[in-house]
């Protein structure tokens, strides 16, 4: 893979917006990889947590938006808990989710969620799932 680095992307409005709503300073990450090492779902992510941070440092927000990472993150905070720099990839991924959801775009259509789940699952799973996947 070859990527072209552009000043306009590194300093883009969407990167600034992401930093603002997530409260995270992307530059703080020094790419130690602890988050990717400890993330319970990183195996399932198309872009691992530390790589998410790297792509965003490089201004490649589109690459990250295309990947499933933000929708797979469970928000267990293991990344934040062990980050030596105090960064929260979970917050960054939530920021990315929010940029989608706040536009009114659903990741999950409520009508597509199996009735079986809605009937049997604990309420908190439904509420939490809606918050994470539905605008």
């Amino acid at each position: 893979m070859k990527i072209k680095l552009l000043k306009e992307e590194i300093e883009s409005a969407s990167i600034h917006h992401l930093q603002r709503i997530s409260g995270e300073d992307l530059k703080k990450c020094y790419q130690c990889g602890n988050c990717s090492g400890g993330c319970p779902v990183s195996y399932e992510m198309e872009i691992a947590p530390s790589q998410v941070m790297r792509f965003l440092q490089l201004g490649k927000i589109e690459e990250v938006m295309k990947a499933n990472s933000m929708w797979v993150c469970v928000g267990c905070l293991q990344c934040y808990s062990r980050c030596p720099k105090g960064c929260s990839v979970a917050a960054v991924l939530e920021g990315l989710r929010q940029t989608v959801l706040r536009k009114g775009e659903d990741f999950e259509k409520i009508s597509k969620i199996p009735m079986q789940f809605l009937k049997n699952a604990p309420q908190q799973a439904i509420v939490c799932g809606f918050r994470k996947f539905v605008s």
Partner: protein, 289 residues
């Protein structure tokens, strides 16, 4: 002693046995869980984006109501605990956000309520020695894995209930109940949480890791403090059994059910029949019932 108590939606419906066993246990020990006169859903997730104040208004309303009934509030569900405790911290420490949220919910709440998990009540207010003294049916010889999950412990600087990497509160309670606590590697790893909605595969894998890790360390029983963990573990059980050679399953119960059991509550009052996994064979094998 009367402690204001917030059950939350799930404990009022899906996880009734969690709620009831805790209330009964409390009265057996000698205090009362006084349900808030008025409460609503906490939102079931603490917003990780700090600008998302709207998501804090529901838990703020709960806290504000609690403030009218006392200076502490206890919860059982780890998620409610996480959301309420973290929201409370925001309201206490951030004057600007407090003003906005208060304006929105039309209350004057200042974050003064002390949010406690039921485990904290037992440890710090009652004392495990007193719990131990009340034990009538010790869970002797049951190797029990306490599954903490995520929300009870993390983030440490907000939750502070216990060391985030090497917690002991659960194990100490189990010891007081006469059980043999088993520290297993995945006890603070995620079960898959809300991915239950759209990614069963991940949930099965993560919950499976939790259960096989516990059994691998010798656990015969897992106790939980979160209805979602309970659901995910129990729901994954069969699939994990069929896909993992040598793994035959493990009963999963709420820690309050274990507590009630040890305190000598009638078995039928503990709601074991509502659990998917059957704990009775184990209890019979150990001679507890």
């Amino acid at each position: 002693m009367k402690i204001p108590y917030y059950p939350g939606c799930t404990l009022n419906t899906f996880a009734k046995s969690f709620d009831e066993s805790a209330r009964d246990a409390a009265s057996a020990i000698g205090f009362e869980m006084a349900e808030l006169k008025q409460w609503n859903c906490c939102g079931a997730t603490f917003p990780l984006t700090p600008d998302n104040l709207i998501a804090l208004s529901a838990p703020a309303k709960v806290l504000s109501n609690a403030g009218k009934e006392g200076d502490t509030l206890t919860t059982l569900c780890s998620v409610c605990y996480n959301v309420l405790k973290r929201t409370n911290k925001v309201l206490r420490d951030n004057r600007e956000k407090r003003a906005t949220i208060n304006g929105f919910i039309e209350e004057e709440y200042d974050g003064s309520v002390n949010v406690l998990h039921f485990l904290e009540v037992l440890r710090d207010k009652v004392g495990f020695d007193k719990v131990k003294a009340a034990v009538k049916r010790p869970l002797a010889g049951i190797k029990t894995g306490a599954y903490y999950g995520c929300m009870l412990l993390r983030p440490f600087e907000d939750m502070g209930i216990d060391n985030a990497e090497r917690p002991t509160v659960f194990e100490n309670l189990l010891k007081a109940l006469g059980a043999e606590p088993v520290e297993f590697p995945n006890r603070i790893e995620c079960c898959g949480a809300h991915l239950a909605m759209n990614n069963e595969e991940v949930v099965t894998k993560l919950s499976g890791n939790v259960m096989t890790s516990a059994v691998g360390s010798g656990a015969e029983l897992i106790v939980t403090s979160c209805p979602l963990c309970q659901y995910n573990l129990e729901k994954s059980q069969d699939k994990v059994v069929s896909s993992t050679p040598g793994y035959t399953g493990v009963p999963v119960i709420y820690f309050t059910q274990a507590l009630g059991l040890a305190l000598g509550q009638p078995i039928e009052s503990l709601g074991f029949e509502k659990n998917v996994t059957d704990v009775m064979p184990l209890l019979k094998k150990k001679g507890i019932v």
